[in-house]
C-alpha cells in the first residue's frame, strides 16, 4: 500500500512537472514534445529497480518501446483529425484512446510475447 501511495505521489508530481514544461514552452509544436516525456517511467523506475532489480526494469523498458510506438501512432492520428475536421479535442482524444490499447497490445502480441 505504501508503495502504491508513493507511486501515486511521485507520479503525480513528475507528470505535473513535465506538463508545466509543456505549458511554458513556445511554439506549441515544441511544447507538445513534453506530452510524450518519459514522466511515468522516471517516476516509477527508481522504485521498480529498488524492489525488483534492474533486469525486471529492463523487461518493462522493452515493453515500453511498444507502448511508445502506440503513443506515436495515437497522437499522430489525433493531430491529423484535429487539423482537418471540426472535432473537439477531448472527444477525439478519448474516442481514439482504445487505439493505443489495440496498437500496444498488438505489438506486444506480435513481437514481445
Amino acid at each position: 500500500m505504501t508503495d502504491l501511495i508513493l507511486r501515486f505521489l511521485i507520479g503525480g508530481a513528475v507528470v505535473s512537472l513535465f506538463a508545466v514544461l509543456g505549458d511554458i514552452f513556445r511554439p506549441k509544436s515544441f511544447a507538445g514534445l513534453f506530452g510524450a516525456a518519459p514522466s511515468i517511467a522516471l517516476a516509477t523506475l527508481g522504485l521498480t529497480i529498488h524492489h525488483n532489480g534492474k533486469l525486471y526494469a529492463a523487461i518493462e523498458a522493452r515493453s515500453m518501446m511498444a507502448g511508445a510506438v502506440a503513443m506515436a501512432v495515437y497522437a499522430a492520428i489525433v493531430s491529423w483529425i484535429l487539423l482537418r475536421y471540426k472535432s473537439r479535442a477531448l472527444t477525439v482524444t478519448l474516442a481514439l484512446l482504445p487505439l493505443w490499447f489495440v496498437a500496444s497490445f498488438g505489438i506486444w502480441r506480435l513481437c514481445l510475447r
Binding site: L4, I5, R7, F8, I10, G11, A13, V15, S16, A19, V20, G22, D23, I24, F25, R26, P27, K28, S29, F30, A31, G32, L33, G35, A36, A37, P38, S39, I40, A41, L42, A43, T44, L45, G46, T48, A58, I59, A61, R62, S63, M65, G67, A68, A70, M71, A72, A75, A76, V78, S79, W80, L82, L83, K86, A89, L90, T93, W100, S104
Partner: protein
C-alpha cells in the same frame, strides 16, 4: 529564437487543471505498478508509455487558445482546435523519441549504474525529440 519560454502561461492554468493533471498522472503511475504486479513486467511495461495526461493537456490547450481569441472578440473555436492539433503532432514526435529512451534502458540498465542510465536515456529522449521537431519544422517551412 526557435524556442521561447512564456511563464505567463502558468497564470492562465487554473488550480483545478493542475490538480487534474496531478491526479491523472498519479493514478496511471500507481496503476502501472499494480498492472506490473498482477501481470508481470512485460504487460506492465506497456503502461509506462500510456498517454495519461495527453487528453487533458490537449483539451487544455484548445480551451486556452479559444478563450484568448474570444477575449479579443473573435470566435476561437478553430484556433483552439488547430493549436491542439499542433500540440498533438509534437507529442507524436516526442513519442518516437520515447522509443529510444526505452531502448537505452532495456539495453544498458542490466549492466550499468541505474541513475546514469536513466540520465543518459532522458538526455537521449530530449535530444532526439528536439532533432525530430527541428526536421519537421524545416520540412514544413520548405513546403510553404
Amino acid at each position: 529564437m526557435l524556442v521561447d519560454l512564456k511563464l505567463a502561461s502558468l497564470r492562465s492554468t487554473k488550480p483545478h487543471e493542475y490538480a487534474i493533471r496531478f491526479l491523472f498522472g498519479g493514478l496511471i503511475t500507481a496503476a502501472a505498478g499494480v498492472i506490473a504486479m498482477r501481470y508481470g513486467p512485460v504487460i506492465g511495461g506497456l503502461f509506462l508509455a500510456f498517454p495519461a495526461i495527453f487528453p487533458a493537456s490537449v483539451t487544455l490547450i484548445e480551451n486556452h487558445e479559444r478563450k484568448n481569441k474570444q477575449d479579443a472578440g473573435f470566435d476561437g473555436t478553430r484556433r483552439g482546435r488547430i493549436a491542439a492539433g499542433i500540440e498533438a503532432a509534437g507529442t507524436s514526435l516526442g513519442a518516437i523519441a520515447l522509443v529510444l529512451f526505452a531502448f537505452i534502458l532495456y539495453r544498458f540498465l542490466p549492466g550499468h549504474d541505474p541513475a546514469l542510465t536513466l540520465v543518459a536515456a532522458s538526455l537521449a529522449w530530449l535530444t532526439l525529440s528536439t532533432l525530430l521537431w527541428l526536421l519537421a519544422k524545416r520540412r514544413h517551412a520548405h513546403r510553404h
